[in-house]
Symmetry: C2
Subunit: 309 residues, 2 copies
């Protein structure tokens, strides 16, 4: 299977390309592809929004695409016009270009739980309406709509997967408002103090990057998507205190290194995630990490295997 | 109230500007404004997608906007890239520009029942999911999402109104796939033969343009919109045969002038409109024409009053 991956040089992209490359012909596109040097894939360094680059990368067609590239939440709030250009305009063009490259290719879109807005309802399930408040979430919901329409038309076989918080992202400026969930891991590994910007009781939906990659691979190979061509992925729901305790246990860091200094905006946006039910995704074979212990183990292993440890 | 109207030179726009101009400061924008010559409004002839034109037109701010300009359904299918530029990109920029012009202005968006897709479900009500299949319907659904998000953020007080078939549009190339509903009226007035491209039993949701204008004015002046900031307008549901019979009765045209030559695609897209329930819009004071007789009378009066009789 020939698979186009946008955002291939990023955190999720690198893990996905590593997983797919042994068995597939992977076309990796990103503006920076340094992290892909060792991967057995075709690398196109450049912007997925560049039509000429796409024409070259898709010259032989493709059987599937995974669209990860995005201007993330915090950065989208800072520059909504750029976010629209990338997250809506260029993403819609990409979908159209992939549809033109081959007959009805699979198209997996990295959507986000940001489509549910904040504050979230008291329960999120497959009937929950999309109520984004962040620019990022609105843009994801708009492209979900285009993917569903193009799928109804038979131009693609599209599926939007709404990602929960993915851990552990690399340290540093990611433009992700939820970066603190990953920074906790890095601080614990280094036995450094960590100031959590949410309260101990803050509840969050999490998934390890290796579990996410397994879910994306499942979407590429599994049964054809069905209406409404968008799924909320299952996620493990944990409190910040439970997460901090398990990370400390597995890293040997002193639990007292973590203190809590809640930022009301972050607490409201990322620390009030309610019970989550995902029967459609569950029935289709998508999975969360199974336990907090397994999630933390997977996230720590990912850090130790990456260039960013 | 200072009100920006895009698409002001079009069929609905001219009727709306005529109704609003006596009591309001209307800023009328359209690429062709010939039909507005006699109206007491400020005319900006040009493209609403042109940022410089918008800057000039909105130099004094505005209290409300009604966004009618669009690449319609048939034309959008012919040129999806142009349709995206106008119906999505430029429309999102317009919303942002209006939001920047004044604190939380009203923003009324001309959406469409095309968001429900085709075939439609056996009943459409306020819980019906958006399942567009046409490019046009997908673009409308995407902008509905942006309007709702900008309203949640307090940047605008937005409301998307999903228009049913509006009669009677002027004769000629409108880019509307549903133009046949209006062409029936013009043929009857001229006592000319008319070949309906749907079956006698085809069911359609209709509204006269004068009723639509009253509903838009109600949206401008009524209670603030509420979640999800989008409403399906009530509409009169009629069969093609019932409509043809009533039009013949009121115009004196021979009923035998109408013959039926169904086009399967038009029948599927526009002739299978199921029972419609709009309790939210009803409770908010939006109304359909009340009876088929009243609808036909209003539509015929509109033709006789327009430049297109």
């Amino acid at each position: 299977m020939r698979i186009l991956v946008t955002g291939a040089g990023g955190f999720v992209g690198r893990a996905l390309v590593s997983a797919l490359a042994p068995d597939h012909d992977v076309i990796a596109v990103d503006r920076v592809c340094d992290g892909l040097a060792g991967a057995d894939c075709r690398i196109w360094e450049g912007d997925f929004a560049d039509p000429a680059l796409l024409d070259q990368a898709l010259a032989d067609g493709c059987d599937a695409a995974v669209h990860l590239a995005t201007v993330p939440g915090g950065a989208a709030e800072q520059n909504p016009a750029l976010a629209f250009d990338v997250n809506v305009s260029a993403s819609a063009r990409l979908i159209d270009r992939v549809a033109a490259a081959s007959p009805s290719p699979r198209f997996i879109f990295a959507s986000s739980i940001a489509v549910f807005g904040d504050p979230m309802p008291t329960l999120v399930d497959d009937a929950s309406p999309l109520c984004p408040r962040l620019v990022y979430g609105a843009h994801k919901a708009m492209i979900e709509q285009w993917i569903a329409t193009m799928t109804r038309r038979g131009a693609i076989r599209g599926l939007s997967l709404r990602f929960p918080g993915i851990v552990a992202r690399p340290r540093g400026v990611s433009g992700m408002k939820s970066a603190f969930m990953s920074d906790l891991f890095h601080a614990a590994i280094a036995h450094e103090p960590f100031a959590a910007p949410v309260s101990p009781g803050a509840t969050m939906w999490l998934m390890s990057v290796s579990r996410l990659v397994a879910n994306i691979a499942h979407a590429l190979h599994g049964a054809p998507p069905a209406e409404p061509y968008a799924l909320t992925l299952p996620a493990l729901r944990t409190t910040m205190a439970e997460l901090a305790q398990e990370v400390a246990r597995q890293t040997g860091a002193a639990p007292s290194l973590v203190r809590y200094d809640p930022d009301p905006a972050l607490e409201a946006g990322f620390g009030r995630q309610p019970p989550l039910e995902t029967p459609t995704a569950d029935a289709a074979g998508f999975r969360h990490d199974g336990s907090l212990e397994a999630l933390v183990t997977a996230a720590l292993r990912n850090i130790s295997e990456s260039d960013f440890a």
